[in-house]
Symmetry: C2
Subunit: 144 residues, 2 copies
Amino acid sequence: MTQRDASVEIIQRQLTAFARRARATAARIHPELSLVSYTLLAHLDDQQGCRATDLAAHYLLDKSTVSRQIAALEKLGFVERRVDPEDHRVQVLHPTPAGAAVLSNAMTSRRQAFHERLADWDAADLDRFASYLLRYNAAQELKG
Amino acid sequence: MTQRDASVEIIQRQLTAFARRARATAARIHPELSLVSYTLLAHLDDQQGCRATDLAAHYLLDKSTVSRQIAALEKLGFVERRVDPEDHRVQVLHPTPAGAAVLSNAMTSRRQAFHERLADWDAADLDRFASYLLRYNAAQELKG
DNA sequence: AGATGTAGTTGTATAGTACAACGTGAATTG
DNA sequence: CAATTCACGTTGTACTATACAACTACATCT
């Protein structure tokens, strides 16, 4: 086994370990929003509103899944729908003020948790780590 | 926002994006084993057998969850149980030859997928990326 | 106007998970 | 040593996330 193989093996294991823990971690950090709800809401916030179909496409989820997740978020009062006057089939989804508020809290908690975990890293390492992850995920997205 | 904040933000987003995709990726790479089954089986293989309780503790899963996962793996013929002669409550779990075989295939597929994704990285970057992930996850585990 | 396509919902099924209650065997202790 | 307590695992139950298929409603194109 080459050094290269060893590195890839470690990367694989560590990313997998992280993924396994992610949902549980999300539940701990922000119990009011699951990892998926959080993600969808964050996307709406980020994009200043978008359609259910867009969410489905972006996150490779079935539209029924998105429909139900959004229904749940709406029931919680975190998302509102605006029918597109141009095309009545379309609902443009937006976070409500309440939704924006919980999202902001969740983001703060997450950010804080990450900051704590990374507290003893120096700036250069953080920067490189960030760029490696970007590079890794970017390669990923090209392949679907 | 400092440079440091920006890096942490990127790390957070990218790790989250990875986690979101992980199950789907696992399903694509090795359809016969879910991410969890794969993980449990790999642990058994790695540890040369262990108890259900150990798996639950290690992966922060409820013992009932492990029990059912193991039951499913046993039904598929991938795991066998050996009652501990010292303590009849204990079942030491081992991969069967068939289990070791699918695991080995799955590991090969995963490894190959990772190698492909990381093909254009040079050795130094791979090495640093691996060490960053190790460092990140190690900090994680101390906190439970 | 009719055919085809797109956005979203709902019915149904499955996997993964947790918690609580339980059975069984081991260990401890009065 | 008998009784209690503890540890390991299973089973009942419930919930969430998810997919696929069938459907409704609207839009677009010919």
